[in-house]
């Protein structure tokens, strides 16, 4: 936009129009229903909801070694380098049921099989665990209930 240089005090309608629209949209989530979240205009509700304790359900993908030991798989095994995107992918598949969980398990197994870092792994499992996060970090690593296996699949070799 480099035609003629503007005068010291330029015309007002365009600045005000852009300002009112953008600022209005960015403040509008305050008038929306509680917890409104969108992009790029959000009420930023993350960590704002009431959380009376630190008990949480976590879905995770693990590699199973020949002796049955579980090794946590990183988010990229679930198809994303972003941990929270990987978390949502797991939640979504598990919520949709056995078929979707099995399909995700197979996709994870294909990635794990191609990763030399997991050369010893023989299978992949999708698990759901319930923990008290405060107790966990105080040293009590035992889940509140036995982990629930949502899917298991062997690694393609």
């Amino acid at each position: 936009m480099s035609s003629a240089p503007p005068p010291t005090r330029g015309p007002a309608p365009w600045p005000w129009l852009v300002g009112l629209v953008l600022l209005g949209l960015s403040l509008s989530p305050m008038l929306r229903p509680l917890g409104y979240d969108s992009f790029p205009f959000s009420s930023f509700p993350m960590f704002a909801h009431g959380r009376k304790d630190a008990v949480t359900t976590v879905h995770r993908a693990v590699a199973v070694l020949p002796d049955g030991t579980h090794v946590a798989l990183p988010p990229r095994a679930l198809g994303s380098d972003e941990v929270l995107q990987a978390d949502v992918t797991l939640r979504h598949a598990i919520r949709r049921g056995k078929k979707a969980s099995a399909a995700l398990c197979k996709a994870v197994a294909r990635r794990v099989a191609a990763d030399p870092a997991h050369a010893e792994a023989v299978a992949v499992e999708l698990l759901t665990e319930r923990h008290d996060a405060l107790a966990y970090f105080a040293g009590d690593l035992t889940p509140l209930a036995p982990p629930k296996r949502q899917a298991r699949c062997k690694l393609p070799r």
Partner: protein, 301 residues
């Protein structure tokens, strides 16, 4: 009386500012956007492998995910337009075009059940810059205009209002976040164990999902007394964000505290907000054209 107040508001919203200040913001914000897009390219191109397409914002126009080829094209177009935006090349077209394409591409990235709140303010800033004359100085357009014999741009309200708008968007986003906490949890957000529970929960899920978590945060949650003061300070920082608009001293103090807040979030939750941590979110509150970074550009040709 009313018209006098309106004139005062107009003078505040549209202050006279040097073209270099807006240009510096274009370089900083545009440069960041390009690097950010390039760094996120593997993620952007791998989105089709994820399940659960849940469109948000402008991407709500789509009924289904785009084919991988279209995702590749939109990411590359965003990158190229971003470069033109940052360098100030054909800015009359590339400025608004990049703002819209960035909005689209990042909305698409956020349409998989997870909204990355680190990106909201970046997009808002690029939208505001794209609607302004941010390439009248320190740009390829400006160099071409100089060669044609055009007079150099002088300080004007044309360069002042976008800077003010960027600052308003920054403080507005923090204020909105503070209001959300009050609306959803009341003052209990600051006085209860809520923040401690969130920090424990967030670190645990990252740990179990095989990602980085904060050992410092995991240790701190064992000290319950720490969290109500931390939560109170965070909430006050967000709700009092508008004071940063009262003048340079207020802007300095608030920006420093807000930066410390994000550093704390990084240290105890392993959540990295690059835009504020690099100072870019707060840049519109300062005379950024005086930064050492721009000294070479500021020299007369």
């Amino acid at each position: 009386m009313l018209s006098r107040a309106a004139r005062a508001v107009d003078r505040w919203y549209r202050p006279v500012a040097p073209p270099e200040r807006l240009a510096a913001l274009r370089l900083l914000v545009g440069g960041f956007a390009v690097v950010y897009l390039a760094a996120r390219m593997p993620n952007l191109l791998g989105l089709h492998g994820l399940g659960g397409f849940r469109p948000v914002g402008v991407v709500s126009l789509l009924g289904a995910p785009l084919p991988p080829a279209a995702v590749l094209v939109q990411a590359l177009v965003a990158l190229l337009l971003g470069l033109a935006f940052a360098l100030g090349l054909a800015f009359r077209i590339t400025g608004p075009a990049f703002a819209l394409v960035l909005l689209w591409v990042l909305s698409y990235r956020n349409a998989w059940g997870m909204i990355f709140h680190t990106e909201n303010l970046l997009v808002m800033h690029v939208l505001a810059l794209g609607c302004s004359r941010a390439a009248d100085a320190w740009s390829l357009d400006a160099r071409r205009a100089r060669r044609r014999g055009a007079p150099p741009p002088v300080p004007s309200t044309t360069y002042g209002w976008p800077v003010r708008l960027l600052a308003l968007l920054t403080v507005g986003s923090y204020f909105v976040a503070g209001v959300a906490k009050l609306r959803l949890s009341g003052l209990g957000w600051a006085t209860s164990d809520l923040l401690r529970n969130y920090i424990a929960y967030d670190n645990l899920r990252k740990h179990l999902l095989g990602d980085w978590y904060s050992p410092l945060g995991a240790w701190l949650v064992g000290h319950a007394w720490l969290f109500p003061p931390l939560a109170t300070a965070s909430l006050l920082l967000e709700l009092l964000a508008p004071v940063a608009l009262l003048g340079p001293k207020f802007a300095r103090v608030w920006s420093l505290l807000a930066w410390a807040f994000h550093f704390g979030v990084w240290a105890i939750m392993a959540i990295f907000f690059p835009y504020p941590l690099l100072g870019l979110a707060f840049a519109p509150l300062f005379a950024v054209e005086r930064l050492f970074l721009f000294r070479r550009l500021a020299r007369p040709a």
